[in-house]
């Protein structure tokens, strides 16, 4: 009984405890609810403060004797100009007709327009060009400007002139209406198709990279001058160039606005864009809140714009709206800038193409985690007023780095100097810790401060300047990364100045810090901003953002959560096109993300972005023509194709399939032989045979090539020039280069992959297999020779076995390397400080008897395949034919680059499409030369063993110094055993003498 009793007591106690704790819990919940409800109810509504005037930051007292704009600007002495000078090209030169306008067309690279003009009074002018763009690769045009046959400053060869685009059908919409985005089968809004608008455009000449925020100034003396514009990229139709005085705008506070009563605010949905200067700006979405307009908990609504895509200086977005009641208005933005912590995002605001007052020259959107309603201020903490006539208007925002440009410029200079010192140091100590670590000995003093004249002074000046930079960033309001990176470098420099003997032991940290500064620079350059809507509120009313209550928001999120269980995130949606002719299921197309991101991009973007582009392309170009609906899905990698096919769940067509998979599947009878289709011969004529060989098996061809990426030799122009090195053309020259590099502590990089062996073997006219593809030919003299060279690179010439090419190339420690040309994407995206300092050429080769050099290299490719089980053989082939054809590839490559920038440059296998890729003329020629020498190894059953065993053989020779001949033989026997076994498995004949 007692036991029971105490148990009862316990229960009772527990019950009261529960009761009490439940009550506490309820109270806590209620408080949380209340707090969050009030937090939800009040969205901050503030006026954008005007930028405090900052002194120009010209820290570098050391004149660097370059003719950079910073130096030239310092030398300006003329007064501000008073009156504009218009230089009309069409008057002076023979004009052409373009879209009903008279222009002077520059079509070919280095085409020039030279005109004379007269300057009445000396002065400082800014310049703007009026131009018209002919159709082209939808990139901005680039011009070089010369005055009197000379570039006024070095950056004058990088003047960019953007195009103008609009959504298809936007012009027909009544003003103020949201653009009706198309929807797919799942009621999701899809990205609209865009078209170029051929109208005259005007652009003020300024730095394309945002290093100088303000427009360039030109000092022109009175008298006659000659102006030259030379084409550097794309094509352009010139109209006129105006040298004009720098406008001195009054403040908005100086106006006398009148209150406007009885008028409703005008709301413009930001995603409903009127004009964009760059295709990277597109409607985006935020489905996390019911307050983003419009919203839907389940399906995609494109309800914002600019998320992560509108961040580089010069990118402009324009909206149009109409005003019924003329009068004074104030302008507000529902905006979010949650990317660059502590920094502002700068925009130039224009109404009807004109900057209305001083405060609009730089509108600063501050960092905030959530959406804010921001009203343009007049500099005195009040809302600025804008007078709008009745009728149609446009408002535009252009990204600008003005606030941070001084910092960017000084940072760039500091990085260049730091890299310079780094290279000088490693010339003394050797950087290559792999081979010379015993040399970089903590105990030994190199007397670096004496051996490298000016080192300590250089470090001191850098340290002072970096500290000033940090102060400036603090002044702007920046916290976080920026300050940390810089203070780490100043701290290290301080230590180097105090204890120069410690420098050699801290080299890798030092180069790491320089890289961090470089990434900081690319981070600071970005001016991201996301907009939900723009609001014109009549002057006198206070701007209000429609606001939902807590429960509304909770309901929205709940619905979203519930629907997330039923949404298939791997499906990118089916074409909504309702076609009467089609009765079956849609054509199922799988996109393999791993292979896609492996070849077609840089790792900067997930494969999903590219797949979306592909989907849009299918929607716009394939389905409307063929009436075949297509369902695109993402799969992690092409290896799942085998399992899916086994389970009978495979797709009809798979694209971006890795090089080895098609043969694997074909050997097992899972793929359709594409060469049996009537048009195959015709459809594959723009591919090199090397693009098709990897997919040939026993007389059939089982895939259509999409991409091919092969090795090029990358080199640092600046370092080769400094050291007076020659680019190697043959392996002998390459070997001669190595000691020269090693002397100054640098190294060359070649990845130890078995593909290097294949390249070396084919350069000797060797081959992998015998005629019948039944056996390897690694027992030949050529193969042994190639194997010796391959292992010798690491044993005799001490190339590093493992390295990170990107980092070492960037610091200059590895100024030359043989890597896939797609590395150019990484470099252009991730190393802006190296812009123009590197290039690539074909790889070194082996001279042949006829005097040519054999530069054979292998390639990685991806391809599209058609599954044999598919019910839709004809349609499937039609899809592959369309997709790998020139038109689709050109458009895909162009869209990728437009949307994601040059870091998404696409290595198409289609030679016709390659012509349109925006490589420079020289790069394009080099790539094409190397491309012609690309070799491909046909697939054989069991070939995976070759890669495996070659690597084993390599490691055995390099690590354990075994005899190359015996090692290669031993592993080769094993390879041939596997090949024979696999051939038997697939019912093929086997080499007898094995």
């Amino acid at each position: 009984m007692t036991v029971q009793n105490s148990a009862g007591d316990d229960m009772h106690r527990e019950y009261t405890f529960l009761n009490r704790s439940r009550r506490t819990l309820c109270m806590i919940l209620a408080v949380i609810l209340l707090i969050s409800a009030t937090a939800c109810g009040s969205e901050s509504n503030s006026v954008i403060e005007a930028a405090p005037p900052l002194d120009p930051l010209l820290l570098s007292e050391v004149v660097d004797h370059s003719k950079s704009y910073a130096e030239i600007y310092r030398g300006y002495s003329a007064p501000q100009a008073k009156a504009p000078i218009v230089v009309d090209f069409t008057d002076e030169l023979e004009p052409d007709e373009l879209h009903d306008h008279r222009v002077v067309l520059l079509e070919d690279l280095d085409a020039e327009a030279i005109v004379e003009f007269e300057v009445p009074t000396s002065g400082l002018y800014q310049a703007s060009l009026e131009y018209l763009m002919p159709e082209g690769r939808s990139q901005a045009a680039r011009l070089e400007l010369e005055i009197n046959g000379e570039r006024p400053f070095t950056e004058a060869d990088q003047l960019e002139f953007p195009r103008m685009f609009a959504f298809v059908g936007e012009a027909d919409l009544p003003s103020g209406e949201r653009y009706p985005f198309q929807r797919d089968g799942g009621d999701n809004e899809i990205r609209p198709d865009t078209e170029e608008i051929a109208i005259p455009l005007k652009k003020t000449l300024q730095n394309a990279y945002g290093i100088y925020g303000k427009p360039y100034l030109f000092e022109l003396e009175a008298g006659d001058h000659e102006l030259t514009l030379r084409l550097k990229r794309e094509q352009i139709g010139l109209m006129n160039l105006t040298f004009e005085p720098v406008p001195d705008r009054a403040s908005a506070a100086a106006q006398n606005p009148e209150v406007l009563e009885g008028v409703d605010p005008i709301m413009i949905q930001a995603e409903s864009l009127h004009r964009i200067s760059d295709l990277t700006i597109f409607p985006t979405r935020d489905n996390a809140s019911v307050d983003v307009m419009p919203s839907d908990p389940e399906s995609i609504r494109l309800n914002t714009m600019g998320l992560n895509t509108w961040k580089y200086a010069g990118q402009t977005a324009t909206w149009r709206f109409s005003v019924e009641a003329p009068g004074w208005y104030q302008v507000s933005f529902r905006a979010r800038q949650d990317v660059t912590r502590g920094m502002n995002s700068g925009r130039i605001l224009r109404i009807d193409g004109e900057i209305p007052f001083k405060e609009a020259e730089l509108v600063r959107f501050p960092f905030a985690n959530d959406w804010q309603l921001l009203t343009l201020g007049d500099g005195n903490g009040e809302a600025a007023a804008i007078y709008l006539e009745g009728g149609e208007h446009t408002i535009s925002l252009e990204a600008t780095t003005e606030e941070i440009s001084d910092v960017l410029r000084e940072l760039q200079r500091a990085i260049t100097e730091l890299n310079g010192w780094y290279r000088e140091i490693i010339m003394v100590t050797g950087s290559n810790p792999d081979a010379d670590r015993q040399v970089v000995d903590a105990e030994r003093d190199y007397n670096l401060d004496q051996k490298i004249p000016g080192l300590i002074e250089g470090f001191e000046s850098l340290k002072d300047r970096l500290e000033l930079l940090q102060n400036r960033i603090d002044e702007i309001g920046g916290t976080g990364n920026a300050a940390n990176f810089i203070s780490e470098v100043t701290y290290q420099l301080e230590m180097f100045i105090d204890k120069p003997y410690r420098i050699p032991t801290r080299l890798s940290q030092f180069s790491g810090n320089i890289s961090s500064l470089a990434s900081l620079m690319s981070e600071l350059r970005e001016q991201p901003l996301e907009l939900d809507y723009l609001l014109f509120t009549p002057y006198g009313q206070s701007p209000k953002a429609p606001k939902s209550g807590f429960f509304e928001q909770m309901n929205f999120r709940l619905q979203g959560l519930i629907s997330s269980f039923s949404i298939d995130y791997s499906a990118l949606g089916t074409t909504a096109e309702e076609t009467t002719a089609w009765t079956g299921e849609p054509l199922r197309v799988w996109v393999s993300v791993a292979d896609l991101s492996g070849t077609a991009n840089t790792g900067v973007f997930s494969g999903r972005d590219q797949a979306e582009v592909l989907r849009t392309l299918v929607d716009n170009r394939f389905t409307p023509v063929t009436n075949v609906p297509v369902a695109v899905s993402l799969v992690p990698d092409s290896a799942v194709l085998v399992q899916a096919t086994m389970a009978g769940m495979g797709p009809d067509v798979a694209v971006f399939v890795g090089q080895v998979t098609p043969a694997q599947l074909a050997m097992r009878g899972a793929l359709t032989d594409l060469s049996q289709f009537a048009t195959w011969e015709e459809d594959t004529k723009s591919f090199y045979p090397s693009a098709i060989t990897p997919f040939r098996y026993e007389g059939g061809v089982y895939a259509m090539p999409e991409t091919q990426s092969y090795d090029m030799m990358f080199y640092r122009k600046d370092i080769f020039e400094n050291l007076g090195l020659e680019l190697p053309d043959t392996w002998d020259e390459f070997y001669a280069l190595l000691p020269e590099l090693q002397q100054v502590g640098m190294q060359a990089g070649i990845y130890q992959s078995d593909q290097t062996f294949a390249s070396l073997l084919y350069q000797r006219d060797g081959s992998f297999y015998n005629e019948g593809l039944t056996k390897t030919t690694f027992d030949t003299a050529e193969a042994l020779d190639a194997f010796r060279q391959w292992t010798g690179l690491y044993v005799n010439y001490s190339l590093p076995l493992s390295f990170d090419f990107f980092n070492r190339f960037r610091t200059g420690e590895m100024p030359v390397g043989i890597v896939r040309f797609t590395n150019a994407n990484y470099l252009s995206a991730g190393a802006p400080e190296l812009d123009g300092l590197w290039d690539f050429v074909p790889v070194p080769g082996i001279p042949q008897e006829d005097g040519t050099i054999d530069r054979s290299v292998t390639a990685d490719s991806t391809a599209g395949i058609l599954l044999a089980d598919s019910k839709y053989q004809e349609e499937g082939y039609e899809f592959l034919r369309w997709w790998t054809g020139a038109d689709a590839q050109i458009e895909f490559a162009a869209s990728l680059e437009q949307i994601m920038g040059p870091s998404a440059r696409y290595p198409t296998a289609n030679r016709e499409a390659f012509e349109t890729i925006a490589w420079t003329t020289e790069q394009s020629q080099n790539l094409q030369q190397q491309w012609a020498d690309v070799i491909a190894i046909p697939p054989v059953p069991g070939n995976y063993q070759i890669q495996r065993n070659l690597n084993f053989a390599f490691r055995s020779v390099v690590y354990q110094q075994t005899n190359p001949r015996e090692t290669l033989n031993r592993y080769n026997n094993d390879i041939n055993e596997v090949i024979s076994r696999k051939r038997l498995e697939f019912g093929l004949t086997v080499e007898g003498g094995n």
């Binding site: 810790p433 009878g669 493992s802």
Partner: protein, 295 residues
């Protein structure tokens, strides 16, 4: 009537587990036994080839022998040592104040909690000259050039074994820690009266016999983990490791079954059946030994 109803209840209660057990354990085991007698390329229908796969496995597959050797190293050395280590550690921890004990238990168990954190070892043993161990050794002047820890067959096994030790404080360890707290202190007192002279005698004669269920559980866990070493080795040494130096039976099965290389599911099943039998035998031996200890 009553008996029938009771039987129905029993069946009803057993059904969920039985169905899942049949679906996910019995059927896969049976089907891999069946597949082990076939040649199956995963896409076309399998052909029956009798014992050919077994013959090939034992007499014609050198890599299988390497994998078997490595698996046995893990099963007979790493597994038992890790097992003993985690028991000793649990025993030592038992002496501490409960709070301290909790902290230490957490620390030792954290590698498992953290999931795939063994990737950290690929950084520690990175073959690059800037890799942690290489750079330290080179700075100290022990090495003049970096050791290729993860690709040189001389070092691969060493690194993988090290990582497996680090990971050995698994669920078994938690069971030991928990079991130690349920020991009956009266038995220790009785033991002291009966002449137990030191802590090790106490451990051997009093603690261990009380711990048999936990020890059994720990043994099962330890055997299954050490026979199933594969992913860890692959994450560290790559796939395949140089000269198959860290190849195990599980990796061999993966190589033939799911890697995009051989696609020989029949042969993979043969190796799997072999591994299954091996584990069964080992477990029944351990079971017998521990049960004898319990009596």
């Amino acid at each position: 009537m009553k008996g029938k109803l009771e039987r129905k209840t029993v069946i009803l209660f057993m059904a969920p587990f039985t169905i899942l057990f049949i679906l996910f354990t019995i059927i896969p085991i049976l089907s891999s036994i069946v597949l082990s007698f076939t040649n199956f390329n995963m896409i076309q229908m399998p052909d029956f080839i009798g014992f050919m796969n077994y013959v090939r496995m034992f007499f014609a597959d050198d890599v299988f022998l390497i994998a078997l050797k490595n698996t046995l190293i893990f099963a007979l050395i790493t597994g038992p040592l890790g097992y003993a280590l985690s028991f000793l550690l649990a025993w030592l921890l038992n002496e501490f104040h409960p709070t301290v004990r909790k902290i230490f238990t957490f620390v030792f168990y954290s590698p498992i909690l953290a999931g795939n954190v063994y990737f950290i070892w690929t950084y520690i043993f990175s073959p690059d000259a800037y890799g942690l161990i290489n750079s330290i050794l080179m700075r100290m002047g022990v090495l003049t050039e970096p050791i290729q820890w993860l690709t040189d067959p001389k070092y691969i096994m060493f690194v993988v074994i090290l990582v497996m030790f680090w990971l050995s404080m698994g669920t078994g360890f938690l069971a030991f820690v928990a079991g130690m707290q349920n020991l009956d202190p009266q038995l220790n007192e009785a033991g002291a009266i009966d002449g137990v002279r030191n802590r090790f005698q106490e451990l051997w004669y009093i603690t261990i016999p009380q711990m048999v269920p936990m020890l059994l559980f720990g043994a099962v866990m330890s055997i299954s983990t050490s026979f199933a070493v594969g992913y860890e080795s692959m994450a560290i040494a790559g796939f395949p490791s140089t000269d198959y130096a860290a190849h195990t039976l599980v990796l061999h099965i993966m190589d033939y079954g799911i890697m995009p290389t051989h696609y020989e599911l029949g042969y993979a099943s043969t190796v799997a059946v072999f591994l299954f039998t091996l584990m069964l035998i080992t477990w029944s031996m351990v079971n017998r030994f521990l049960e004898s200890k319990g009596e």
